[in-house]
């Protein structure tokens, strides 16, 4: 053996940095309609190719093509468009509220609206999402009151979480929306446990787990896949690959040479990779996976390919780590624009009606906000009192908390 040459550490780098021209040339994007749609009960091994493809329905001309076309009517499509636009308008308004000092923090889902808005439509009453902070669309798509969400963000007197949680970490059991944790990935395995419980109970309800591509590196992602692989519970394992985890591009999470959908293969779990900016693809792929779960065929992992068009949160400035123009160069386009164009191509929509709808939604959000603000904002007006702080640590307040509450004098 010859004397070996010195080793060196490989540290993945994104193709471009601020100042450079955006470059998505490393991405392979199949044409819409080209990816096959296997039967629901196909074994994991026989659909490995789908983890390296991208399921797409809407083509460049705004037409719905191929085997994954969910065949939605105009009303369903319009519902999707409206849900995405409402989500975007809500985000804009809440970010503004944060800038105005009405709350401490906010997180948008700009560019990713199709995923949560579309996925929710595949679920039924009683099913349970275990969302991250970027799935407000799950609530908005089912017309959950915006005011209720706003009150949480403002930590005001009507905040159903009594001021205890950071803004955007909603909880809405009735809406099948599990309390969001500030700790990444922890809920992925909980979703699996919830689905196991449903199976143990002979129930028919399914769970949906949510995670960002960056967070798939966390331990609980593995735990979830192991338990899902072993017990085959009715759970959909969503991975939202929006290319970025704060400042770290997806290569730092291990996406340099392999897709996140492929992670499932080592666990024998069927997985799909889909265009997350294509509302129709989202609807179809979500329905496929939910149906599998419902029929006791077990878990499915879905990687949604998308792009985080905005900053990570209200505390972030992405121009420090990626080109400002990168969002515009994103090859899968904008989900709202794409669905709008599709509706126009179908003859079911027009620029004029789009403008009207935009204005209506603007108005709706504003009205909701006015209503919410009547119950106070983080620093002004009515708010959950200090006594609330001691409630709910336990079902019944133990003596030491009663003593502490007395010590505070409330």
């Amino acid at each position: 053996m010859t004397k070996p040459t010195p080793l060196s550490l490989h540290v993945p780098e994104p193709p471009v940095r601020p100042g450079d021209k955006p470059d998505f040339s490393r991405m392979t994007i199949p044409q819409a309609g080209r990816t096959r749609r296997p039967p629901l009960d196909t074994p994991a091994h026989d659909i490995h190719d789908l983890a390296y493809s991208v399921i797409r329905v809407l083509n460049r001309q705004g037409e719905a093509v191929g085997p994954w076309d969910p065949g939605l009517d105009a009303q369903a499509l319009l519902h999707g468009l409206r849900a995405m636009m409402r989500t975007r308008a809500y985000d804009a308004r809440m970010l503004m509220a944060q800038r105005q000092g009405k709350t401490s923090f906010y997180m948008q889902c700009s560019g990713e609206e199709a995923i949560a808005c579309g996925f929710q439509m595949a679920l039924g009453r009683g099913d349970m999402n275990f969302p991250t902070y970027r799935q407000q669309g799950l609530l908005i798509a089912q017309d959950w009151p915006l005011t209720d969400m706003m009150c949480q963000v403002l930590s005001n007197a009507q905040d159903r979480l009594r001021g205890r949680q950071l803004p955007v970490l909603y909880s809405a059991r009735e809406a099948g929306f599990f309390s969001i944790s500030g700790n990444l990935a922890t809920q992925y395995i909980q979703a699996v446990g919830w689905a196991m419980a449903s199976a143990i109970s002979g129930d028919t309800r399914v769970a949906a787990a949510w995670i960002g591509e960056g967070s798939t590196a966390e331990s609980d992602f593995h735990a979830a896949l192991v338990f899902a692989s072993v017990y085959r519970p009715p759970v959909i394992l969503n991975v939202v690959n929006n290319q970025w985890a704060i400042s770290a591009y997806q290569g730092i999470a291990g996406g340099e040479n392999v897709t996140f959908a492929a992670r499932a293969h080592g666990y024998g779990i069927p997985s799909l990779r889909a265009d997350g900016n294509d509302y129709l693809a989202v609807r179809a792929v979500a329905a496929w996976a939910v149906e599998r779960a419902r029929r006791n065929l077990g878990p499915t992992l879905i990687e949604w390919v998308t792009y985080r068009a905005g900053p990570h949160s209200s505390s972030d400035d992405p121009s420090r780590y990626r080109p400002k123009e990168e969002s515009d160069a994103w090859p899968l386009g904008d989900p709202v624009m794409r669905l709008k164009n599709h509706l126009i191509v179908l003859g079911a929509w027009s620029e004029e009606r789009h403008r009207q709808l935009t204005a209506e939604i603007e108005e709706e959000v504003l009205t909701a906000m006015r209503e919410a603000e009547r119950h106070g904002t983080l620093h002004e007006g009515p708010k959950p009192g200090p006594a609330e702080m001691f409630e709910g640590v336990y079902k019944e307040m133990p003596r030491h908390l009663r003593e502490q509450r007395t010590e505070l004098g409330v």
Partner: protein
């Protein structure tokens, strides 16, 4: 009523709980077909089927993670961590999730789970089969922490824990699974069948969480102990001739400060025992509270007799374990100061 070991009492508690409530499910590493490495779940899979009692992958974070999800769904999961020393991978799910869920969701979701784990030393298990991590749980609001010292309490506390709507950490001192142990490792092992607290009622009963019990009445000094150390305290009191009042705390959080306060105000002296390492052990909290609540009644410094601030060694087991000789010295010391 029957004589039972602690293992049998725990198994009986699980059986009673599973029988009464179909929502109770039991799982963990080797707990299914095999019945657990300490046999605490033996027979449950046969009786209740694989959906209600099953083996899990070796993933403590996964075990507690699915338990949280099951609890949120509405089940009553009872998870076993094979040794308390292996709970660390699950610590995030316990602290950040189970303990906070009710609070952060304002009661929309709860995690009514029980995490059973054998703890403590005295079995030549070395540093990874001997730990007593109770203080790592008592610092975490939202958790209840329980540790029985005998079969009777083990069954009653475990049933109470399963019926409790909050997450409960249930520590089982493995050295006393099969018989009380007073620290005299060179004496023959005594079985539970010869101890009055090995008398375990049949069927359903509970020992309420949050209540300490006086194991020995005395006037000279209050001893605060739990788990195996209760038996060590009894031996030490007997052998040193010190008229100690021995409290078995049973639940660490919520703590029975009334019983503690009453005793210390009577005796004016206090010795605290635990196997865990000393610094920031639960003894520190006990010491702080006794001092805060009984300052003007204290006639001597509160002493702690604990494991040393080292990993639990293998060969030096009996130099590490806070046995009756060390406890006896402390009892005499507080009387003399």
């Amino acid at each position: 009523m029957a004589r039972r070991t602690m293992v049998e009492a725990i198994r009986d508690a699980l059986d009673v709980a599973m029988e009464r409530d179909a929502r109770v499910v039991v799982f963990g590493e080797d707990v299914g077909y095999f019945g657990g490495v300490f046999r605490c779940t033996d027979g449950l899979q046969r009786k209740y089927g694989t959906s209600r009692c099953f083996d899990t992958p070796i993933s403590e974070s996964g075990i507690i993670g699915v338990a949280v999800g099951m609890g949120a769904y509405g089940l009553r999961p009872v998870a076993e961590i094979q040794f308390a020393d292996y709970m660390y991978p699950a610590y995030d799910q316990i602290v950040s999730e189970a303990a906070r869920l009710r609070y952060r969701s304002a009661g929309e979701f709860t995690a009514p789970l029980v995490v059973r784990m054998p703890c403590g030393g005295g079995i030549f298990g070395g540093q990874t089969h001997s730990q007593s991590p109770e203080a790592l749980f008592t610092h975490v609001c939202g958790l209840k922490t329980v540790i029985p010292s005998n079969p009777h309490d083990a069954k009653g506390l475990l049933i109470a824990a399963i019926e409790d709507d909050d997450p409960v950490i249930f520590l089982e001192p493995k050295r006393i699974y099969n018989g009380p142990f007073n620290g005299h490792h060179d004496q023959p092992v005594v079985p539970w069948s010869r101890h009055p607290l090995g008398e375990v009622p049949d069927g359903h009963y509970t020992v309420p969480l949050g209540e300490a019990v006086i194991r020995r009445e005395g006037d000279a000094v209050t001893v605060l102990a739990y788990g195996t150390m209760v038996h060590v305290a009894e031996a030490a009191a007997e052998e040193s001739g010190v008229d100690a009042e021995i409290l078995d705390l049973r639940t660490l959080v919520p703590l029975d400060v009334e019983t503690i306060g009453r005793s210390v105000r009577k005796t004016g002296r206090c010795v605290i025992l635990h196997e865990a390492t000393r610094t920031s052990g639960f003894g520190a909290e006990l010491s702080a509270q006794v001092q805060e609540r009984c300052f003007h009644h204290l006639e001597a410094p509160i002493l702690r007799v604990t494991g040393w601030d080292t990993p639990y060694p293998h060969a030096q087991e009996w130099d590490y374990f806070p046995g009756p000789a060390r406890v006896g010295r402390a009892l005499r010391a507080v009387l003399e100061s």
